[in-house]
C-alpha cells in the first residue's frame, strides 16, 4: 500500500540552527532513512521554505493568488516521502524513523488508488 509521509517541522528552528551539527544530523538522518527503507521509498523530496510558497485559493468562481503557504502555522510542510509498504503499521514504523529537530510531526496519508 502506498502512503505519503508528510513532514511538518518548525522552519524557524531550522533557520536558527542552520550550519549547526543539529541540522547536519537531521540531513544525515534522512540519508540513513533512505538507505534503510531502500526500494520502499518510491518518491519524495525536501521542499523549499514556506516563504517561497504561492497559494491559489478558490472561493466559488473566484481564484485568488496569495504569497505564502495555505495556512500560517508554526509547523510547516517541509518535505515528504512516498512509500510503498504492506500496511499502516509498517508506515507508522517508517514515520517514527524520520529524523527531526526538537519537534515536528509526520502525517501518514494513504495514497488514493
Amino acid at each position: 500500500m502506498k502512503y505519503a509521509l508528510l513532514i511538518y517541522s518548525d522552519e524557524a528552528e531550522f533557520d536558527r540552527l542552520q550550519d549547526t551539527p543539529a541540522v547536519a544530523g537531521v540531513m544525515e538522518g534522512h540519508r540513513a532513512f533512505a538507505v534503510d527503507m531502500g526500494s520502499a521509498i518510491v518518491g519524495g523530496s525536501r521542499l523549499e521554505s514556506p516563504q517561497t510558497a504561492t497559494t491559489v485559493r478558490t472561493r466559488g468562481a473566484e481564484k485568488s493568488l496569495h504569497d505564502g503557504p495555505f495556512a500560517e502555522t508554526k509547523e510547516q510542510l517541509g518535505g515528504f516521502y512516498l512509500i510503498d509498504v504492506p500496511d499502516l503499521d509498517a508506515a507508522i514504523a517508517a514515520a517514527r524513523k524520520i529524523p527531526m529537530l526538537s519537534q515536528g510531526c509526520v502525517e501518514i496519508r494513504p495514497v488514493g488508488a
Binding site: M1, D87, L88, D89, A91, A93
Partner: protein, 414 residues
Amino acid sequence: MRRDPARGSVNGGCLDRTARAAGARIIGALAARFRDLDIAEDAFAEACARAARAWPSSGEPRDPAAWLYRAAERSALDAVRRRKVRDRWAPSISGPDVSEPAAEDALIPDERLRLIFICCHPAVAAEARAALTLRLVCGLSVPEIARAFLVSEAALAQRLTRAKRKIARAGVPFETPRPPEWTQRLDAVLSTLEVAYAKAHEDAAGSSAHAGFAREMLDLTGVLAELLPTHAEPHALAALVRYAEARRPARLDEHGAMVPLSEQDPRLWRRALIVEADAFLAKARSLGPAGARTLQAGLHGLWCARPSLDAPAPWPAVLSHYDQLLAHREDVVVRINRAVALGEVSGVAAALRELGSLDPAALAGFAPYHAVMADLLRRAGQREQAREAYRRVLALAPAEAERLWLTRRLTELG
C-alpha cells in the same frame, strides 16, 4: 447478550445464546479472511436474520454456531462478488464449499485476538475504539453503546462508520502486531478496554443501560487474558474489572447514596468474583515485575481481602501501593488518591500539605480533587473551607449517588 434486534430475538433462546457465545468468533474469522469489518459485520447480521426465519420451521441445527458461521460466510462471499472489488485487495474466495449452510461441525477459526487488535488500533480515536470493540467484539447494539457514551445514536453510528472507514482505507493490518509495535498496540487494547469499562463502572446503581455491559467487560477481559497467557497486563486488567464488579452490590446505601470503599460492608461483596480476581492477579504477578496495571489491580485486591468492617482498613499497604505507582509515573489522580491514604496513615495535616503541593488552577474543574479536599478540611475542623469545597464539587454536577453523599456531608457540617 447480542441484543441487536437484527440479530434475531424472534426465536429467542437458542439463537440469542449462540449469537452471544459465537458472535465475536464468527465476526473475527470473517474479518480476518475477508479483511473487511463491514463485510464481516453485515454477513453475521444477515446470518442471524436467516436463522430467525429458518430455525422455527426447520428446527434448531445440531451445531447452531457452525450453521451461523456457514451462513455468514456465504453472505460474505456474495457481498464480495457484488462489490466487484479491485484485484489487489480482493480476498481469495477459495476455501470451503459454502453452498450448504447447514453443514455440520464447521470449525470456526479463533481470530478474536486479531479482531480486538483491529478494533483497538491506536490510529483510531480512543472513544471510537471502545465503541467499535463493544459493537464487534461484545455485540452490543448501537443504541446501547450510544446510551453508555451519552451521545446520540446518530453520532455514535457516525463514529463507528468513520472508524471502520479509517481502518479500511488507511490499511490497518488485519494481523496481530509485530514485535516492534507490540507494546504500544497492546497498550492501546488495554486502554480501550479501560475506557469501555469506565463507562460500565460509572453507573454505580447498575440499573441503567450501561451496567448491562459490565458483564461483557468481564467476559472480554477474561478472553484477552486467555488469548495472551504470557502477558501480565491483560491478567491485571481482568483482575481489576472483577474486583470492581465484586463490590458493585455494596456501592450504594439504601437511599441510593454512594458508600466510600472504606465504609462498604465486605459481606455484600461477591466472593466468587474476588476469588477469580485473586487468581488473575496472582498470574499477573507471576509473569513479571509489577507494571502500573498490576499495581492498580493490587490496590483493589488489598481492599477486597478485607473480611469485614470490623477488620482494620488496609491503609498502610494502600499508601505503599500508591508510592509504587507514583514511582512508575507521575499522575495527578494517583497523587490525590494517595493523599486520602496518607490522611488515614499520617494524619489529616500531612494529607492537606500533600494536596497543597498540587496546582489548584489546573484542578479547578476536577471533582475528585475538591471532594478529597472537602473531606480532609471537614476532618481538620476547618468547617467554613470544607463547606466551600463541598459546594465546589456539587457545582461540578457529580453523578446522583455522589451528589446524595456529598449533600449529606455538607448538611452534617451545619
